[in-house]
Symmetry: C2
Subunit: 294 residues, 2 copies
């Protein structure tokens, strides 16, 4: 049965899995709850396995088949301490390889090629593959990092709205909209900000982009500030011959028109998503296995 393999994206909001054969044909797909291995290893393992079993069921196979297939699992934090090894040991697949979510995202977006990816959602993080080696920067969370994240865009908007309320900086349509949302009471805005989590701040990101597209000066300055940070981070990873940049995540499309010409010239559509990257790696893994046995 090791002619089947499973690619798994162990993501922070859900685990997604797909069963494929050695030709790359996808036979079934499954999802399960989230994987956050650094904060909850036990449930993450349960959900990773559940997504695989659901994919096997979807392919018309018994969930118990997990113990006779190979699998590649991409999870955030696999490179932290001995987490990767611990997960590999704990999983029930006949053969398994645990890699970081950066590895699966790079594989999904770039296939086997070299290039740089930037992912922009609630957080922001950058990865590169150059001559087969992986490099990663950013992703340190919104308190002291993630400068181009949705969370930071939202936090910036609230900060600028307070400065506009105080008359320290000019107000704009978007700062007036934000203050109106809190009944023009800055104390209510501050109360929200002091309990808000990154995804609470990030819900303002679409509002920032919408206002910037309409020429709002405060929103435009916030987006330009984030774009400067994106440019600096891409430059930290780029090398002279690199000809591929992929922007990923929920805010990728919104950032695209703001990117510098120099970086925009290198933009490529991602070949596939993170799960596709995990599937690709799972198929390679299966083929290696085949060769090893030959």
């Amino acid at each position: 049965m090791t002619e089947l393999t499973i690619g798994i994206d162990g993501g922070g909001s859900s685990c997604r899995a797909a069963v494929a054969d050695a030709t790359g044909r996808i036979l079934g797909r499954g999802t399960a709850g989230p994987s956050n291995i650094l904060s909850d290893l036990e449930n993450s393992l349960v959900n990773i396995v559940a997504s695989a079993k659901n994919a096997l069921s979807d392919a018309g196979l018994s969930p118990e088949t997990v113990s006779s297939v190979s699998a590649v699992i991409g999870v955030a934090g696999a490179n932290v301490g001995d987490y990767g090894e611990r997960i590999e040991r704990a999983l029930p697949f006949a053969r398994r390889r645990v890699v970081t979510d950066a590895t699966t995202a790079l594989q999904g977006a770039l296939g086997d090629g070299d290039g740089v990816i930037g992912a922009f959602g609630t957080g922001s993080v950058y990865n590169a593959r150059h001559n087969g080696r992986l490099y990663g920067i950013g992703g340190w969370g919104f308190v002291v990092g993630d400068q181009a994240s949705g969370a930071r865009l939202g936090r910036d908007l609230l900060e600028q709205s307070l400065l506009a309320h105080d008359g320290v900086l000019p107000s704009s349509p978007v700062t007036r909209t934000v203050l109106a949302e809190y009944g023009d009471d800055p104390e209510r805005l501050v109360e929200f900000a002091h309990v808000a989590r990154p995804n609470d701040f990030a819900r303002y990101a679409p509002i920032v982009f919408q206002a910037a597209a309409e020429g709002d000066p405060v929103a435009t300055a916030i987006v330009k500030n984030a774009i400067t940070s994106i440019g600096e981070s891409l430059d930290a990873l780029l090398w002279p011959e690199c000809d591929a940049i992929c922007l990923l995540g929920g805010l990728a499309k919104a950032y695209r028109p703001w990117l510098s010409e120099r970086h925009a010239a290198l933009l490529r559509e991602p070949k596939g998503d993170v799960l596709q990257g995990a599937i690709d790696l799972a198929i390679k893994f299966l083929r290696e296995e085949g060769k090893g046995a030959a």
Copy 2:
């Protein structure tokens, strides 16, 4: 016994009180625990009264004298909802007046004159008195405000240190020192930042100023950024004829040499501190009382 009066600074780290007579002579001083009326009204009231009783004891008087003296109490939050009234009702003094800490800080720094004050400690806040009217901006906390606070200086330093670690921005002596403090492990720095409270970040403020004084480019940029924010906030409160700016708080001295020439030209030494402001107001209050009775 109403020829005696007590000025009280109900501060967030301690309450300080002084007993004075109508001529302004200080007869005794006392301290007690903190006052944070918005988060713990009951204990704040206990500490305010305790500081007054301690001041009376210091003056050789019975603590019970509280019920026959007048008092002015300055506390943060006295202008929020009905807190001011509730405190006035609850306090045992023969006559009492509750004002905000901005009022006592302005009185202490400027006496009866007009002017603008900026206070820089763990937080940052600005107040002005113009033709007897009070104006206040800032002080919204470090998450979305307090741009020139010690907490923001520290948070900025940690953020720049991570960017330097990632090679996104050039490193400097101070970013290398910060990273070394965390064993050159950015994850340890991020862990600290995610549990740090404003005063934890603020402990880096002296390091930022020291490095900036030595010409460190990262620290210099952080201080200049804060000074830009200070300039914008002062300008929001200043009026053409205003000729007095006082900088208060633990970071006031450190910011002084960085201030723009235009603002530096208006700098005045504060006449006294917040407690002195409370004492001044308490003496005025006592004299008003005397006039009222005449």
